[in-house]
Subunit: 337 residues, 2 copies
DNA sequence: TTGTATGCGTTATCAA
DNA sequence: TTGATAACGCATACAA
């Protein structure tokens, strides 16, 4: 099959004009049943498939949406993606999923491609929400919505979750459970999430009237399982009387690593260390000691972001919105004993 | 920005012909430095972006590759995807990632779209490798490679891992560790993987000269964490003298669920139950009791599949190949005590 | 009800 | 070195 059949080919074998074939495709009611049947037969015989590029060119716009994920190996983002997917499907749009893998270079290359593809719009969890790369995209005419991050200024819509509140919920819970020396595990602080959750943690700590120095920060270089393990090492390396009795981790991956380090060293969770994670990924609930975690409405995040994007493309009076969802603490054995 | 600038617009503002603009884009060496500068300036001023649809239409083919995943929430597939992504990037192709979420309907819709997009080729882990939907795609001219599944006949390339061998490795390991009553946890058997691993398990069991009835099957309805938990319930519901001392799970998700059920019931792993998983996802190694698992070369699977696809698109003498990789057992605490 | 003609943006061929 | 023109496949306005 060298070149696939075009409307012209179909027209020829059906013995009708090209316009009629097009009518069969787009306004079948205008075509008499008999010719329609003939055309449809010809299409079947030739294995005719619409050429989307040509349609797009003609239409002046595509029926494509794109979601640029920050890290496809983090279940949090695949859940967001699933929300986006549902929304795209409902709007009869195809979804282009890309994974920047936390690389600004890769992200930029993808954005370049997407703009060239004339996607209707881009949903993105950017490596750096304030990068000028995003402005460039907008300047060139592709609407963009930031997911799970906040961007300074009001040039785009964004959908996120209140991370400071999340941090507060986590630490309030630990304080309620009687903990008076707590570690915050996460990093780098340059990630908005990490610093906001830390800010919320500090706030809750101060509100409880506890001394500042008893909320310690275990700074990590990232938010993967391995960094959690290393945080465990550092905690166990502290002299016992100064060692925190609870840890609040900036995400579940680090929480899982930390849990593993403690358990494999025959420490008990929550007796030796209570743990709170963040994101409530399926593996948090599935851990040997189910992990208390701050849940974010992941699917909803994706769905809502897609809705904003669609509004921006369709509605001339669209105004940029900043949607902030509320997180929720899910208490499990890792803090309840 | 209503309509983005075209080559024609660029030509007009630069005061040159349309052909010259095209030359600047595609054969800059043919254009005198001064006019080239003028054209480039105009492109910058107008925010010109190539229209990929038009290029595609003109070229007669796209620069798109697609990977249709079976389940984006399973880390196994995101790792395969990352391999595909690397290969696509190296070949300067964009990658369209889709997620069928185990739904044949959704899969079909995606394939339809992809064929219309004239993607160069499709990598797919199909819901049903023998479905005629795949034939339809091929018949309409889009090359296709099956990933992590095998399809009867030789109409397509496929890349997979020897699941029977994997099953054998798992059970041999358990037999070596002295287990004489073992459960196989997984289902439904209609999934090739599940039945092949079971076949391998049986083979190893027979080779060890052990009585058939002591390798028991705990059939599950799927391969998620929850099914693992339920399998745990069923195991603990057995009278102790007939209860298996080890379980081989058809994937890590079920292994994690099973592990959790045992641990939260204060059973010990591996003392009360040794556990072997399959896939060696990051969460297997990260479990409180690190899980022994059969590792598959996930990234490589994706890369190799992409390579086969690219060969099929570029090489007229391409012949379909069936690549089978060898799995490897990674022993950890869940069987080593 | 059906046919004809035009243009979307790009690239390549050929002429100037 | 640059310019004019045709073609890719489709959808639509308009003519028959």
């Amino acid at each position: 099959m060298l070149r696939s059949a075009s409307v012209k080919d179909v027209a020829a074998t059906a013995g009708v004009s090209l316009g009629t074939v097009s009518n069969v495709l787009n306004r079948p009611e205008r075509v008499s049943p008999s010719t329609r049947a003939r055309v449809e037969q010809a299409m079947a015989d030739l294995g005719f498939v619409r050429n989307e590029s040509a349609r797009q060119l003609r239409a002046g716009k595509s029926r494509l949406l794109a979601y640029v994920m920050l890290d496809a190996t983090n279940p949090f983002f695949t859940d967001v993606a699933s929300g986006v997917e549902d929304a795209a499907e409902a709007a009869d749009l195809s979804l282009f999923m890309c994974n920047s893998s936390n690389s600004a270079t890769r992200e930029k290359a993808y954005l370049e491609h997407l703009v060239e593809q004339r996607v209707q719009g881009i949903l993105i969890t950017p490596v750096d929400p304030d990068s000028s790369t995003l402005d460039e995209v907008i300047r060139r005419g592709t609407p963009l919505v930031v997911v799970d991050r906040i961007r300074a200024g009001d040039t785009v819509c964004s959908v996120s979750v209140d991370d400071e509140l999340g941090g507060r919920l986590a630490v309030e819970h630990l304080v309620d459970r009687g903990h008076r020396r707590v570690a915050y595990v996460g990093g780098p602080l340059s990630i908005g999430q990490v610093s906001d959750r830390w800010a919320g943690a500090c706030r809750a700590w101060a509100d409880a009237g506890l001394p500042e120095e008893d909320l310690v920060q275990i700074a990590t270089g990232g938010l993967k399982v391995d960094e959690g393990r290393r945080a465990g090492e550092r905690l166990l390396g502290l002299p016992e009387r100064r060692r925190p009795t609870a840890a609040f981790c900036a995400n579940d991956l680090t929480a899982l690593g930390l849990l593993q380090h403690y358990i494999t060293r025959s420490r008990r969770v929550p007796e030796d260390l209570a743990i709170v994670g963040y994101d409530d990924i399926v593996f948090a609930a599935a851990a040997a000691v189910p992990i208390t975690s701050v849940r974010q409405p992941r699917q909803l995040l994706g769905e809502r972001a897609a809705a904003l994007l669609l509004d921006e493309t369709a509605n001339p009076q669209h105004v940029h919105e900043r949607v902030v969802f509320t997180p929720e603490l899910v208490a499990r054995a890792s803090t309840l004993g």
